[in-house]
Symmetry: C4
């Protein structure tokens, strides 16, 4: 299956203050590959992504208990892509899923960072990853230990750059402090959740680190808020199917965490975006992804896809984000009603 001929060209963006370029749209294994998308389906999605210019494939040791790394590694081998055409990432923290005992297979101790990296590379069948992320902060491990351990991975050639995921600004600042103090390499990029419904971290908490040099790189996940922003929940839960089942689980999990009302509120807000999408002649999901790409601090939006069609659809967002004028963005902000202040004032 070949990509549609009228797709916009892939766009590449420098990752923070580095010389590395990542495709603005990237493909992640979370919730899909190694999980509900089977082996052949994964291969098809990854090939479609590669064919439209995606160079960044995102994974984590924890995705599908390691199966995500395995199947993505298989795809890379199967298609014989040149290593220098790819930016492969994985993330270390939640390693416990692959081990019989919890205690040292989680977190950011030197032990887990080194052992987790070795296991990830084995599953991926690679000598090194381009990006290694600390999948969460670990307040139990001293920052110096973590910074040293990630630098050790770089020194021995198992990773080229390191970064963080879902860290707070003060934690990133502390990591930079130890890197500076010890003449080591600091974290290059952060991977937060970012979408129309979750803006605080990127637009306020991390804003200072993104604006001032050395500017932090940003790869973001969950651009559709796990589907809510596609508008598919506006008429309630979709009919019973294996896929719907996954969503039911998601929604019931969501309800448990945040309450049914909050979910409904979000669905209502999303509905109000429909006219804008219609005006621009795009699906709501494409509008939501485009909105993420319009943030110039975002180096790459990590998308999930269950089929090549979804991959192609996502690429449309590269055309659409250029249509998001200041006026349209203002209109969206008014609907969302969650724009954080550019500068946090202190009284």
């Amino acid at each position: 299956m070949s990509p549609p001929t009228d797709l916009p060209e892939m766009e590449y963006r420098f990752l923070g203050r580095s010389g590395l370029q990542v495709s603005a749209i990237s493909l992640g294994g979370w919730l899909t590959y190694g999980g509900h998308v089977d082996r052949e389906g994964t291969f098809a999605c990854m090939k479609a992504a590669y064919d439209v210019g995606v160079n960044f494939f995102d994974c984590a040791e924890v995705y599908a208990k390691g199966e995500s790394e395995k199947v993505m590694g298989e795809a890379i081998k199967k298609f014989g892509w040149q290593r220098n055409d790819l930016v492969i990432s994985t993330k270390i923290y939640w390693g416990s899923a692959f081990s019989t005992r919890l205690v040292n297979n989680i977190g950011l101790s030197r032990k887990h960072i080194i052992e987790g990296m070795n296991q990830s590379l084995e599953r991926l069948q690679l000598d090194y990853v381009d990006l290694i992320y600390a999948h969460r902060p670990d307040r139990n491990t001293p920052m110096e230990e973590t910074v040293r351990a990630f630098n050790h991975l770089i020194d021995i050639g198992k990773a080229l750059y390191w970064g963080t995921s879902e860290w707070d600004a003060d934690e990133i600042a502390e990591a930079r402090h130890y890197a500076d103090k010890l003449n080591l390499i600091g974290p290059l990029m952060e991977q937060p959740r970012y979408n129309m419904l979750e803006r605080l971290r990127v637009e306020s908490t991390l804003a200072h680190l993104l604006r001032t040099p050395p500017s932090l790189g940003l790869t973001v996940f969950s651009p559709l808020r796990q589907g809510i922003l596609s508008g598919k929940y506006k008429s309630g839960i979709p009919p019973d199917s294996r896929f719907a089942q996954t969503q039911l689980e998601f929604i019931s999990g969501f309800w448990k965490r945040t309450g049914k009302e909050e979910f409904q509120e979000m669905v209502d807000t999303v509905s109000k975006l429909e006219p804008i999408a219609e005006r621009l002649g795009v699906k709501q999901s494409v509008l939501a992804l485009a909105w993420v790409l319009a943030n110039k601090h975002v180096s790459s939006a990590i998308t999930g896809a269950s089929s090549p069609e979804q991959v192609y659809e996502n690429v449309e967002a590269l055309r659409v984000y250029k249509l998001l004028t200041e006026e349209v963005m203002g209109e969206i902000d008014d609907i969302l009603g969650n724009k954080p202040p550019a500068v946090v004032m202190r009284f």
Copy 2:
């Protein structure tokens, strides 16, 4: 043989200022594995320990002239335990036992640290240990050489953390000084002898290093003072047997070193603890181990065991130490009469 079903759950503690967690009760090879406990017995004890949640197995190049490392390495391989479920340590200093000539096979020169590490890893059949200890201080080797050599082991991936055993506070402070000066990694933990009868080092000499950041980690050995604290000597030397023979040797060695009177005094003191153990409904050995675990600076108490039963018995201490209220501890202090002052006053 399965562990009793009513054993308390294993407890894990962070090792000093690191992100590494060790089981509060650990198993050591000293005086047992590779020595008077045979191969099958070693396997049985290690399996029992692993099954009750012990993750930290302690060894040294000198234990049973290297046989301890060999048999413990065999066990790890035999049971196929995942490497990230284990915290394996060994210690370098007394290497001379395995070499025909003494001179450079002892101490903390760069030569012995590197060569000793290689030989230990070969005996253990491992690529790396988690913890490498300097088994004693070496005043003949400049501290800078020693600190650099242990960091070299970490840099080349043969050890994850390094520490000391039976070092004085000033020696640890000097090692930290050179680590700081050279931007290297300092010693993380100290392994002193610690039990009801030997409290000075932990509770006074090292107290400052334990209390102030970066807080020193503590793994302790000899919690039963080689059996004296179990109360088994109260009616004199036990009947003739191979095991008793070992103890006779121990006692006569002890008499030679410290005098028969001192031994008798200790036995008498220990007798006075019997009523407390009875009141708590536990063996005296369990009380003694629990007393060690009650010290919050202790990350792990390294126990010896000749049988799975002993392993299970030791785990009881995890329940018992929580029964040691301030009142009970005061009672014990009164009997022991050896509580060092919390702060050493200088006049």
Copy 3:
């Protein structure tokens, strides 16, 4: 084929502030080996060069899309030269030619420096190169990243020294700044284009870095301005042949870049040098090469050669440059009319 018996002896010069000595005349693969000079021709030229004492062979990942490295590596293997008799260089930057996709296969990111080096060594069939160059500056990659990555190559033994090619003085100064700040190794040498017609960079822009310690090493390329300085264009384009074809391409490319007039001006200037060459009894190409060697800051002039005869001819320049007295140099300067001021004055 043996070298003529009356050739001057090879001269070796220290490369900048290093202890490495390179032959004053070296052989480069640019535009020749792997390209219009075939395999056997390359072997013949390299052997001729080696036989007359050339020890420095210059290459780049981009020359002939990697074919240059391959054939030069083959020659080194074929002739069984001892590795310590050779100074082998390559250059990283324009790697995209060997990859299906452009984005990360170009420039001086950590990714391309590491991946490019690995691929070059594979093509060269070597464990390490002596000199690794950054083939161009990369303003998109932070200098710290580039300096660290080249030092990484040195640390892991894949290169002995690193330098730059066609960098500006401020870029070299910035690289030195980061090397100093991080206690790393700075760039040792620069490889600019340098010949009678292009003097500004070496004689003015870089002059300060060449004169003051730590003095920058200089290896220069294009000593004949791609043939213009040989005087062969004075009677117009040479007759039609495969070689002429290449030159026609060169000339038409040149016209496109700088205009036909500028080319004719150069040809005219070069004609005026003919009487000097005749007086010294040498070909104009030898005079031009000798003029480059007369600059004491030049450690090596990288020459191209399509035949052993050209190699031998180039060596003549070692004799000739000693004939270039202050008077002759003045005469040449008057003809060229492009001598930059020794010190740039600021008003």
Copy 4:
């Protein structure tokens, strides 16, 4: 052949400020192994030395054009000595002897240090040496390059310690300066020529570095001034034999370098020491070696030996140097008439 039963026990001394101990008497390959002493003879001498407790075997890439390293490496392998029982050294500088071309196979450039080390280890059939020496200073290579390159050897595990041979005090001080500045390891030991007739360097030039911390280690060569101090030249050149031939070459070379008169003067001086040797009941050669060992700054005196008997004889010096009272030393100083002032006064 077993060592005589009444030999004094070997003495071990710390090498400078390190934790490494070397036998006070060591065995060197210079002028003997790989040269005029054949393979079997080398094996016999090395075994004799090992049997009397010598642990330090000294070599250099240049000794017998590499044959010395080869045969000594063979011996180590043949006898199956444990690596940790041995202190093996070699020296880098004069590598040119093994290469067809001189230019980069000599000196202390990064290139020669790395390539020379690799070749020495191959000849020695070892993974690493204990001590690597810079065989001479190299004023053409910046000290920073040399210090970094020796540290590189230590970092990659090919050497444990590095030092110098025949360097001046200012050169050692400069090396220390760069090591300190860059947080690297400085040179540990110097290997000068030292004997009754050549005292200036050890007793005056280097005196300050030996006396003040970090005290420089000292291994010395040529304790018998190539045989002159044995007294064997007192009745003229010994009768014609293959061994005598070597000496004739030595003497004629000596005459060429320093003049026949100076040689005769030395022989005369040495004759005057005969009564002291007789009084102590030892050969003059043993007295000369004992005199070197009496200098407490000397960690090891490197001796040459053509037969096991000579090895045993040398060991006698360990007994004899303890007989060299202040009075006897004064007597010797009076005869030699070359004692340098302890402190160089400046006016």
